[in-house]
Symmetry: C2
Subunit: 390 residues, 2 copies
Amino acid sequence: MDYAKLADQYKSALLEDVIPFWKQYSIDQEHGGYFTCLNRKGSVFDTDKFVWLQARQVWTFSMLYNRLDQNPKWLEIASHGARFLRQHGLDADGNWFFALDQVGNPLVQPYNIFSDCFAAMAFAQFAIASGDTEAMDLASQTYHNILAREANPKGIYNKSVPGARPLKGFALPMILCNLTLELEHLLAAEVVEAQIDRAIHEVIDVFLDPESLLISENVSLSGGQVDSFEGRLLNPGHAIEAMWFLMEVGQRREDKNLIQRAIDVTLATLDYGWDEEFGGVFYFMDRLGHPPQQLEWDQKLWWVHLETLVALAMGYALTGQRECWVWYQRVHEFTWNHFPDPEFGEWFGYLNRRGEVLLPLKGGKWKGCFHVPRAIYQCWKLFESLDGQA
Amino acid sequence: MDYAKLADQYKSALLEDVIPFWKQYSIDQEHGGYFTCLNRKGSVFDTDKFVWLQARQVWTFSMLYNRLDQNPKWLEIASHGARFLRQHGLDADGNWFFALDQVGNPLVQPYNIFSDCFAAMAFAQFAIASGDTEAMDLASQTYHNILAREANPKGIYNKSVPGARPLKGFALPMILCNLTLELEHLLAAEVVEAQIDRAIHEVIDVFLDPESLLISENVSLSGGQVDSFEGRLLNPGHAIEAMWFLMEVGQRREDKNLIQRAIDVTLATLDYGWDEEFGGVFYFMDRLGHPPQQLEWDQKLWWVHLETLVALAMGYALTGQRECWVWYQRVHEFTWNHFPDPEFGEWFGYLNRRGEVLLPLKGGKWKGCFHVPRAIYQCWKLFESLDGQA
């Protein structure tokens, strides 16, 4: 097991391929912010700006500046997006719009609380990089606004009839776990510990089925499983991403049981979610094996595979458990054989079940400069640490 | 060209396969209404009741009773669903909920105006079958409520920022064209003519691009094309379905130009939307050839192909144009080879690009007892008329 070679593979993908791609093609010099709708070669095919992706790119360049290299160009790119978001992203009540046009006019209302989550993450990381105290305040205000909106995240855009089969979703507690650690330097210590306790409880005691070790995307308010389309829905990549969030918490708290639980869930989810016929992890499944509603259920998505590599590399680095390594190799092979674009750089996002390119884009409404560089950075550092241990 | 054989093929599919399937598996004897989430063999895998599909099944059995055979069993099935919808489907303001649970409790608010469209269609057709004047009133009230809501069909659930790039969608004018004819017996003659005039104008002068002959799913309020994901979106099956609605109007008004225009658009849409590699019509496309947002864009859906068969058979029956027949045969071959389930009956709904079954269901949240029997009935009658002419 040549960890150094793996570390190098990730390092050069990050620094010689992925970051240069976004640096070259995504900056909107005219109106600020980033283009994210980039075709295979990097040309812009749509100029709308989605707050999720604007914020995530601010986060990525700030994070690399903070953790990897204080490259002034990276800080400049982060500032470029932070400025645009600050000027145009917020409504009068301090909620983040979902989409803006190229110039920054709001297009889609703040119906989606994850815009706020990624904005908080962005400004918290950017505040460290820039020392900008306003960015710090904005991150902290946004975080507390998320907690205030948590009971009804969709607000007036909620289409469920009140009281009729109320469900809660896995995404928010899962993101809050990661977000709280991201904002640790801005939050009171007791808020951090309380929010992490709550996130662990929600993930492990509420959304996780202790028998199957599968995580439901939606459960009843009292935490029970529900036999409906939403209640049966599994999103294996989402569950696995949450598991490395928990492994980080476990590491921080020196909680070996939590780390082991997260590994067990990762492996069980892969057993259920792996496509034995064509390889890769399915996007959506039904926990009872019924047809899911999502027509894209059998597709192979970039972020699912990258987050899985992180979880497996982290589980392996933390415990040396053999199954993590066996699965890592299998997922590595599929991922590296199918997603990177050797011809024009960066990674494809959307493959069909057979692993063929479904959409040739490098970025769009949901894919930006985030999962690819974040996961690649993490895998690089994990294999570097494994190499150091060896 | 053996039209009689084709007519027979459709007739036996309708009467010996499709209708028996829904008759046998969809009736909820316990709580009323219909199950529509049926797996390959007809077993119920989810008991929620979606107003679109409840209404469409009421319409189908009423229509068959009215036009084909006054079979008391068919009227009983229609009544069964009409009763459930009347008891549970409406909110206090006369809007139709989107989804109900098995017993009839509302689950999802009336955010979707097409629930109202299909309810109006259902009760108008059921009123003819049953002579029920309350059903007649309900259809007419619902129709006028749709017209009142038309300017802002999503109401409070509209997530667009007011005034920011306002768009209007093709679906509503297109459905109103068909719905107005369906409700003709309940509406004042001047309403019928005015609404049909308006629908023709919207489809032909507003949504249709006169150069490419392609129909955009969304245009600006002033009717211009918009270069955004929504503004570039094409839904070939949707455009083609609208074309046979227009051919029916053309027939009724003895307007040969309108019929010819509808045929030209059908053929141009097939030229653009046909998958030369694997056959079949794509589900979504981008009119500038950019990657569409819809991950399911390359899938082959049952209703797209059935509505295309209707448009081509109708165009051919009305004009004898050779291209209609050439295309009919190509689409017929793909459709009949891929969608019917010879083993357990009825038709698959969702195939992947290669024409392989993607979801083995016979019904779900969006597929019920509607497109398959409606289109098969129409093709049967069209080939019967062609056989009579021959």
